[in-house]
Amino acid sequence: MVLAAPYAVYLAVIFAYPFGFAIWMSFHDYFFAAPGAIIEHPFIGLDNYRAVLTDPGVRQAFGNIGVFLVINVPLTTALALLLAVALNRAVHARTFLGVAFYVPYVTASVAVVGVWLFLFNANGMVNTVLGPLAPDPSWLVNENLAMPVIALFVTWKQLGFFILLYLAALQNVSKELYESASVDGAGAWNRFWSVTVPAVRPATALVVIIALITGANLFTEPYLLTGNGGPNGESASPVLVMYQRGLQQGEPDFAAALGVLLVIGVLIVAYINRRLIERD
């Protein structure tokens, strides 16, 4: 059909072909050459994958993402659900509150990273307020704190979007369930756990998957907030390593294999998550 044709061609050129190219590249010895030069890219089997899996920087980056997810995912789900439930039943100032919650989500990471740098640098306001309790070395240059600060930043930045998702899910929870729970003598806390939480479970599954994909895509924050994944690579993310190895050091085949492994990793964790959250 003519109407859909431009989009179909676009998908083929921008998604399908590069997708195949990425997989092809990961099994071949691919490198950048002078324009116009005709060079062979011999098939080398799993060599790229072997190189990726034995690379200490890659292992560290995956470990960092693990730290990120352990902090970001529970914090995001808990805070987003809490604020969505509160906002859903609020009568006053809804517009103001809504705008306040979504503003970080619509703002560029690069812009808000600037403020976080200002807040969390060694002489920043956070340390001024903490006084003698300020960590040494400071947040963004501390090996143990750099990744948690990034996780906190991303939670703060993305929370509005997840609140929006939960708000949509809460519209579908039937009022009768709450009423019958009240009749049975359940308090507010019990109603929350036995009615709200199970009812928004599909939304929770979605929130966890999107948070996971966001984490796997992490680049801007470790690049800017902690200065190229520092200190000592303790906040490097897989995508940052892909950029460093693939484009800065000219090993696109290595980066392609890393990309394939990253996607497989996301799919496995998403599958486990699905089994855990959607089981009955």
Binding site: A4, F19, V110, V239
Partner: protein
């Protein structure tokens, strides 16, 4: 007797709002101070505010040129998404055609393929293959038709009653005419939501334009500001002031648009789009 649950609810909500808004307030205050003052009192200055930092960042980064680049990048994506995305969404929702089912499966698959996997091959193709480094076309191409928007458009067109289309066809209207005169006017508010959501993407995008623009005069503001932050800032007199001034310029258009149209930014439309 005070209603404690209600009081508690508003305490939680306003504490959340404060946590979300304070950094933005601080961004603005910091951009207006001559010297960075990181004490708590420094966040509430009584005077001495100046626009010097804006002049400073403008002398190091071509603010206007960068804004124009951001605008062209975002405008190109919006144009591609609205024109071809609406056509594709309409076709997927309302027309039976050969390959339609396959195309829809492909749309679903694209949402699963993460951008980071395509990063390296797209770079090789667009920069090395087509020679589109430092060009608007190269910047726009990977985002030209937003798949999520196609999804949302399809959802909107599906919700319209079938009789409407049957009647229009009976009257002899062609598909393009039905789309233009019947379907589009009915989904106009929803269209605005999709356009707003699409706007945020390229305006805020950093990684892709960062990879393919090496010339400063082609960089969107997010890229030139980030480069300033990582390279030049250490040599400036008041680096944070200049960074925060640039951050305000980058944030202002998106925040202003969002506040102006916030009533279109509603959960139901977005929810239906994401749920597919």
């Amino acid at each position: 007797m005070p209603r404690w649950p209600t009081v508690l609810r508003y305490v939680v909500l306003f504490a959340g709002a404060l946590a979300f808004l304070f950094p933005f307030y601080y961004m603005l205050i910091g951009s207006l101070q001559t010297e960075p003052d990181t004490s708590v009192a420094g966040a509430f200055p009584s005077g001495g505010l100046t626009l010097d930092n804006y002049a400073d960042i403008n002398s190091r980064v071509d603010l206007l040129g960068s804004l124009v680049n951001s605008g062209i990048f975002t405008g190109g994506v919006l144009l591609g998404t609205v024109v071809f995305g609406v056509l594709a969404g309409y076709a997927l929702a309302r027309l039976r055609f050969r390959g339609g089912g396959t195309l829809f499966v492909l749309v679903l698959l694209v949402q699963v393929i993460p951008f980071q996997l395509l990063l390296i091959p797209l770079y090789v193709l667009i920069v090395r293959g087509y020679g589109l480094a430092d060009s608007y076309l190269g910047m726009i191409l990977p985002f030209a038709i937003n798949t999520t928007a196609v999804f949302v458009f399809r959802q909107f067109f599906l919700q319209l009653p079938d009789d409407l289309f049957a009647a229009a066809r009976l009257d002899g209207a062609g598909e393009v005419r039905i789309l233009w005169s019947v379907a589009l006017p009915l989904v106009r508010p929803a269209l605005l939501t999709a356009v707003l959501l699409t706007f945020i993407g390229p305006w805020n995008e950093f990684l892709w334009p960062f990879l393919i623009t090496k010339q400063a005069d082609m960089q969107p503001l997010a890229v030139s500001l980030a480069n300033y932050m990582s390279n030049v800032a250490s040599r400036a007199a008041n680096p944070f002031g200049a960074i925060l001034a640039g951050a305000c310029v980058l944030a202002a258009p998106a925040v202003a648009l969002f506040i102006a149209f916030q009533r279109y930014f509603v959960s139901s439309d977005l929810g239906s789009g994401v749920k597919g």
